[in-house]
C-alpha cells in the first residue's frame, strides 16, 4: 500500500469516526495545488528521518459544516472553534502519517498544528519535495489533503 492510499484510509477513518461524515476521493491524486480562495488550511510539520508538512485545505463553507458536525453544534461563522477543529484534523492526520513513516514513533517529531486562512493565498513548497494532493468530497463539499516530503 502506498502512502496516498494510507492517507485516504486515515482520512476516511477520522471523518467517519469523529466528524460523522462519509468521504469519497474526488478525482485524481495530483502533485500540485492551485491558489486557494476563501479557505482555511491546517498544517503539521514533520521533522526527523522524514521532513515535510501535512496539510488539509478546506473552503470556509466546508470548514464551517465540518466543525459543526465535529462539535455537534451549529457553527456559522469563522471563530476559534473552526481554527481549533481544522488544526486538530491536521494533527490527527499528522499522527497517522507519522505512524506510517515511523512504526516506533521516536525518529519523527510532529510540530504543533498551525492554521492559515484568507481570501486568497498560495500554499507551495520552497524546497524540492515529493508531493501528493488528494481531493476529497463529502456532504459538506470538497476539500483536499496533501503531504510534502523533502527528497
Amino acid at each position: 500500500m502506498d502512502i496516498s492510499e494510507k492517507i485516504i484510509e486515515s482520512t476516511n477513518e477520522i471523518f467517519s469516526s469523529m466528524v460523522m461524515m462519509e468521504l469519497a476521493v474526488n478525482g485524481e491524486i495530483r502533485d500540485c495545488m492551485e491558489p486557494l480562495t476563501n479557505s482555511i488550511t491546517g498544517v503539521i510539520g514533520l521533522a526527523g528521518t522524514h521532513k515535510g508538512v501535512l496539510a488539509i485545505h478546506f473552503p470556509i463553507t466546508v470548514a464551517l459544516a465540518i466543525t459543526s458536525s465535529f462539535l455537534g453544534m451549529d457553527v456559522d461563522e469563522m471563530n476559534e472553534d473552526v481554527e481549533d477543529a481544522v488544526g486538530e484534523l491536521a494533527n490527527m492526520l499528522g499522527g497517522s502519517v507519522k505512524s506510517i513513516l515511523s512504526a516506533k514513533g521516536r525518529d519523527i517529531e510532529l510540530s504543533l498544528p498551525s492554521v492559515i486562512s484568507g481570501e486568497n493565498y498560495d500554499f507551495q513548497p520552497t524546497r524540492e519535495v515529493d508531493r501528493v494532493v488528494i481531493p476529497f468530497k463529502c456532504d459538506a463539499g470538497e476539500f483536499s489533503v496533501e503531504l510534502e516530503l523533502e527528497k
Binding site: 477513518e13 477520522i14 469516526s17 469523529m18 466543525t67 465535529f70 462539535l71 455537534g72 476559534e80 472553534d81 481549533d84 477543529a85 488544526g87 486538530e88 494533527n91 490527527m92 499528522g94 499522527g95 497517522s96 507519522k98 505512524s99 515511523s102 512504526a103 516506533k104 514513533g105 521516536r106 510532529l110 504543533l112
Partner: protein
C-alpha cells in the same frame, strides 16, 4: 460519591469531543475538569479531587510525557491514574508513557465504543 475526570489536551475541540464520547459511551462523571497542557493539569490536580486523567501527549508548554514525569514526583497526586489519548501511538512513546505510570493509550481518532472498551474497566 461520584467520580471526577480531568481532560488534558491543547485542543478545546478535542476536549469537547472526549467529553461527548464519555457521555455517548455511558460513562458518567460528576465533574469534567479541563486543562490545555501539563502545567494546567498539575494546577488542577493540586486543587481538585480527580479520579482519573485522560491526557494528550503532543502539547505546548508541558507535553504529556513531561506531565507524567512531574506528576510522579508529587506525593499527593502521583497515584492518580492516567490514560493517554493521542495521535502518538508509536511503541517507543507509549512504552515511555507506560513506564512513567500511564495505564494505557487510546489512539485518535477514536469512537465512544473504543473509549468505553479501554476506560470502562479502569473505573
Amino acid at each position: 460519591m461520584g467520580k471526577n475526570v480531568l481532560l488534558v489536551d491543547d485542543s478545546s475541540t478535542m476536549r469537547k469531543i472526549i467529553g461527548r464520547s464519555l457521555r455517548q459511551a455511558g460513562i458518567e462523571f460528576d465533574n469534567i475538569f479541563e486543562a490545555a497542557d501539563g502545567l494546567e493539569a498539575l494546577e488542577i490536580l493540586d486543587k481538585e479531587k480527580v479520579d482519573i486523567v485522560l491526557s494528550d501527549i503532543n502539547m505546548p508548554n508541558m507535553d504529556g510525557i513531561s506531565f507524567l514525569k512531574e506528576k510522579a514526583t508529587r506525593e499527593s497526586v502521583k497515584n492518580i491514574p492516567v490514560l493517554m489519548i493521542s495521535t502518538e501511538t508509536g511503541d517507543d512513546i507509549i512504552g515511555e508513557a507506560k513506564a512513567l505510570g500511564a495505564l494505557g493509550a487510546i489512539k485518535k481518532p477514536f469512537t465512544p465504543d473504543k473509549v468505553n472498551e479501554v476506560l470502562g474497566p479502569l473505573l
